[in-house]
């Protein structure tokens, strides 16, 4: 079973994304911000990370930069899931190493299709 890390400071968003992915047959780990995600990835591996952009403690862009610096996460897909839709922000995400950008609110079926596309 593929493992997905969801990073979002909103409990409800984590729950909705988690619910969608679990229904899609994935194992889900949750983190409430970037630093929490890095802590939870110590000694663990995931197949995909889905992260929000604006979060307390550590935002999504910084998280991606940190993850891409880790050998185990260098090539793993990372999707941004955010309310932010500005082209400039998306460029920042792309430059940090994001694999894709999804603007909230997400469509569960579309999210699963996107996850299937980016997973090896």
């Amino acid at each position: 079973m593929k493992k997905v890390l969801i990073v979002d400071d909103s409990v409800s968003m984590r729950q909705m994304v988690g619910f969608t992915l679990r229904e899609g047959g994935f194992e889900v780990i949750e983190a409430e911000h970037g630093q929490d995600a890095l802590d939870k990835l110590k000694g663990a591996t995931v197949d995909l990370v889905i992260t929000d952009l604006n979060m307390p403690v550590m935002d999504g862009i910084t998280l991606i930069q940190n993850l891409r610096a880790q050998p185990a996460m260098k090539t793993k897909p990372i999707l941004m899931l955010t309310t932010e839709g500005l082209a400039g922000k998306k460029e920042q995400g792309k430059a940090a190493g994001a694999t894709g950008w999804i603007v909230k609110p997400f469509d569960p079926e579309k999210l699963l299709q996107t996850v299937a596309k980016v997973l090896p």
Partner: protein, 339 residues
């Protein structure tokens, strides 16, 4: 001059001066007026935070319920599928419903076959007893012939005695033989009569047994036919129930798919809370900034308040930027772009 909506909100708390007091347009009077409303900003900010928290808790509760509904629907369909499927369930040691029907059908067919076999044995027994009756009849016929022979012998012995009497002393030995023959004839008749009686009894017994067996056989045939019809009807009912359940299960599966679609739509709809929470968070931050700035101006800066020159929070949503008058090329909600 204080805005009417602020006045209305403040009046509700009972903490504002009478509306009749004239509001100064500028200067120290205005600062004093503003300072009186400053606590309201903090309260508004707190109200918004609490509202946002309550909405989030409600949405989390709704999500929990949906997860429960989805899990229960999935479990129900899985149980029904397992019950109706052809596969055995080795974990529970239970047989599938279709397996039960087959086992039931097999048992009923075995019972039917056993009953039919019993009927066949009964029919063969009737045939054998009929053969025995025929044999008894033949014995009776043979006894009749034996009786005729015995009568002839008796007459022969009688005539022999007459002839021996005519012969006098010469015929004495012949007379003894004639007497013995007559005695043997009498004994033979007694035995023949006894065997004849036994044969008659045997025939009577065979006849009553035959009647019993025929009656039983006829009843068995009726019962077998009745059982066959009942078994057929029961099996048809079972098959119909099975088909109905399969149909129901298919319906449930289709309903489950619709439920999943509905839940998906609801999940998308529920994300309004995330957007509302973010927008409220931004408004709260702006209120805090406004409060800090006003406090600076009226000389009552709260400890830890934002400096007066700090800007308002950055808007991250298209709707917020639109309201604030910021333009720019943006993706729409739900858009996916892979780099």
């Amino acid at each position: 001059m204080a805005r009417p909506e602020i006045l209305r909100a403040s009046r509700a708390t009972g903490e504002i001066p009478p509306q009749s007091s004239p509001a100064p347009e500028s200067g120290p009077g205005l600062e004093a007026e503003v300072a009186r409303y400053l606590p309201q900003l903090g309260r508004m900010s707190e109200q918004l935070k609490q509202t946002s928290k309550q909405i989030e808790e409600s949405v989390v509760g709704v999500c929990d319920s949906f997860q429960g509904i989805a899990a229960r629907a999935r479990a129900t369909v899985a149980r029904a599928t397992g019950f109706l499927s052809n596969d055995e369930q080795p974990a529970s040691g239970k047989q599938s419903f279709e397996g039960l029907i087959e086992a039931c059908s097999g048992t009923l067919v075995k019972i039917m076959n056993t009953t039919v076999e019993a009927g066949e044995i009964s029919r063969r027994a009737i045939e054998r007893i009929e053969d025995m009756d025929t044999a008894s009849q033949q014995i009776s016929d043979a006894l009749s012939q034996l009786d005729q022979i015995t009568n002839s012998n008796r007459m022969l012995a009688f005539n022999a005695r007459i002839e021996a009497a005519h012969a006098g002393n010469v015929g004495m030995g012949f007379a003894v033989v004639a007497v013995e023959l007559a005695a043997a004839t009498v004994r033979s008749r007694a035995v023949t009569a006894q065997v004849g009686e036994l044969a008659l009894n045997l025939r009577a017994l065979a006849e009553s047994t035959l009647q019993d067996l025929r009656r039983m056989n006829e009843k068995d045939s009726e019962r077998v036919e009745q059982c066959r019809q009942e078994v057929d009807a029961s099996l048809r009912d079972l098959q119909a129930a099975h088909s109905e359940m399969v149909e129901m299960l298919n319906g449930m599966t289709a309903e489950g798919a619709l439920l999943a679609t509905d839940i998906g739509a609801t999940v998308r709809g529920l994300q309004f809370q995330d957007r509302i929470s973010q927008r409220i968070g931004h408004v709260v931050a702006d209120l805090d900034t406004l409060s800090a700035r006003l406090e600076t101006h009226v000389g009552n800066v709260a400890p830890g308040a934002a400096p007066a020159d700090e800007g308002f929070s950055a808007y991250t949503m298209h709707e917020e930027r639109e309201v604030a008058g910021f333009g720019g090329e943006e993706a729409s909600a739900g858009d996916v772009e892979l780099f």
